[in-house]
Symmetry: C2
Subunit: 408 residues, 2 copies
């Protein structure tokens, strides 16, 4: 696998465009994106587990479950089209119809995603105008992919895109992607959106299975603030234009594709954690020696969602008591007196807990290690061989400012 | 039921004392308390569900499970005696032995509680000296009860005690209590501790059952920061000295006792939420019309633990999207388009959501209603008849300061 330039337009046969259409007031911010595959692409998706699902989430879920094919994706930022009642469903269908008419594709092969304010209607005139303009701007160059990646940003500070290429069944195939995410949900913005494209030839079923398995260890192991959005959407479109024979799960090359997906989604998850609202520091929690995989995941996730751990990370404080306590509230049984904890970063590493009690470590050295932008906590449970990683960010004054004082 | 003055020494036959023994450096802060019953009291307790349990929690749990009787309780603040390995168990036993020797009571009838820094040993010489002094200070006056309530405080700003009296089987019985709690767990401090006393004659089994049922709707519905302490302990001591015939579950007066417990624990839970670290505003979430009781509880609890709701409360922001979203991530199924939400406080009330969508409410009026120290969100799910309440507090700059920058 090789990392290459570009994003969603890197694979063969994908066109994109991004622009400021006027959904958002700030004219410097792009707010609509269009992504098109030259031929129908097998489409898989995973969506928010929140009981309250936005209208576009319901639309895309049906698309993946029913036809499993897609030729176009339209995305807007600024308005989430969530908690909008039946009017929201009407608006989603209308967006898909507008794209279908513009591009001459079937309406049930158009995916729709929205992110932004909850509870207000989409400005449909602006949206219609945007769709019309975007279809005239579509291009397969890398810059157009970047414009699309910019258009789906909300509180994100950084644009998030990547592409990789690898060999599958004697052909070079490419996987590209763009995503956004900063706060899980927000007064004016919100949500994780991730869209991957590939020219791989693969069945919809295997694409769905591969994506679902991958998300368990990537997006599901991420927390900015513990709040699950109504709009979370991760989708992958595979148009088969690389010309390989259909990739099967039993093929020797299948793991390479799964690995490419894992690489891209992990890359995005780290970027989202690092770009979390108000964040000054991203942290990774690696759990090793767990009895079960699911246990390892829950232990790691419990640490990245703990407010007290997040405050300690903000303060560069090796507060091991909070780390052990956060694992203890995961609901996973373990022997506290077998746990070792090592902190690490580019500044070095240090064992701060051995057999569940504090080592006689130097506090100043610990603070030094926990001071860079990215730090890691490695916990060995000494109960088995399973491992998991989770990613989070610190809890800061700025997070509260963004989410409590946005009016001021 | 009548609310009367005092706390743990209000019932017949309970003595208490509180003092600065030296566990904490600040000489103005009391840090040890002793509570004694003149005769063995039936003792029930509920304890932290964290897998990592502090040494005193294990000790008290065994006391409740085994003998179910107690004559003395010793509590220190400043050091939690958690994550201290076998040495921590030795220290707890030693504390109990010192109290037993001083008061001439069996060591297995001495309860021990600690709250404070995780991972460091108790200063046993200081503790021993404190126990010796405290036994000479024991008194049944209300002031001594207050001293004990002060001694168990950590980051708490307010002392928390209450007493009520009621008639049971022709006798006046009294229930008193003290508790502490501010952050769930902390660098220097932590934990919820609650201790109730009563002169009621009741079996240990029924006492345990009543307490356990009560905690489900009181302490378990409270969240300051979502972090579960290693030391959480709520115990009740019933010495029977009111002289009533043993209270049975089938007695007509039993609900009055359960109601007294509910009143006291709800009172404490509200105080803890209002005294949460860095808090400027306490909020209650009332869920009505839920399909099941457990569902109602999970919906309410999910709202009080949401960081984004907590930020909105800090900003006096009627952010109904976050409220609906927080209920949606509880895992409880409901129809979002049946939900009504009313906000209320001493400044009035206002329906902000009807059938899952925003009412055309006045934003300034909503901010006015959400500006007092205590506010309430009332959500009607229109799916059944079950109700539940939960209590929380806002997330503020000060919370982060306390928990991230304590070194500075």
């Amino acid at each position: 696998m090789e990392i290459i330039s570009g994003g969603v337009t890197a694979p063969i046969g994908f066109l994109a465009a991004g622009m400021h259409a006027g959904v958002r007031k700030n004219k410097k911010k792009k707010d609509m994106a269009l992504l098109v595959s030259k031929c129908p692409a097998k489409t898989a998706g995973v969506f928010t587990q929140n009981v309250v699902k936005a209208a576009p989430v319901m639309w895309d879920k049906a698309l993946c479950d029913d036809i499993g094919l897609c030729q176009a994706l339209v995305v807007n930022s600024g308005v989430a089209n969530a908690c909008t009642g039946e009017a929201g469903d009407v608006d989603v269908a209308h967006m898909a119809e507008l794209v279908a008419a513009e591009l001459q594709v079937p309406v049930d092969q158009v995916a729709v995603a929205s992110t932004g304010v909850i509870g207000i209607r989409l400005p449909m005139e602006t949206i219609a105008h945007g769709i019309c303009e975007l279809s005239g701007m579509l291009s397969d160059d890398l810059e157009s992919g970047s414009h699309a990646a910019e258009a789906i940003m909300t509180t994100d500070v950084y644009k998030k895109e990547i592409a990789v290429k690898l060999q599958i069944k004697g052909k070079t195939i490419t996987v590209g992607g763009m995503c956004k995410g900063s706060g899980m949900i927000n007064p004016n913005l919100g949500t994780v959106l991730g869209f991957l494209t590939t020219d791989l030839n693969i069945s919809q079923e295997l694409l769905q299975k591969t994506l679902r398995n991958d998300v368990i260890d990537t997006y599901n192991m991420l927390s900015v603030d513990g709040d699950t959005s109504t709009n979370d959407t991760v989708m992958i479109f595979a148009n088969g234009m690389a010309g390989n024979d259909e990739l099967l799960e039993t093929d020797a090359d299948y793991p390479a594709f799964a690995e490419a997906l894992r690489y891209i989604n992990t890359y995005f998850v780290k970027l989202i954690a690092a770009d979390g609202e108000g964040t000054t520091r991203m942290f990774q929690v690696q759990v090793a020696g767990a009895e079960s995989k699911e246990g390892a995941r829950k232990l790691a996730k419990s640490v990245v969602t703990s407010n007290l751990v997040k405050c300690a990370v903000y303060g560069s404080d090796a507060n091991w008591g909070r780390l052990v306590c956060a694992m203890g509230q995961s609901g996973i049984a373990f022997d506290p007196y077998k746990v070792d904890i090592i902190i690490s970063s580019e500044a070095g590493s240090l064992k701060i807990v051995e057999n569940g009690v504090c080592t006689d470590y130097d506090e100043e050295r610990a603070t030094e290690i926990l001071s860079p932008d990215q730090v890691c906590f490695h916990a060995d449970m000494h109960a088995g061989t399973e491992t998991a990683s989770a990613w989070g960010c610190d809890l800061t004054y700025e997070y509260i400012k963004i989410n409590a004082e946005y009016r001021k």
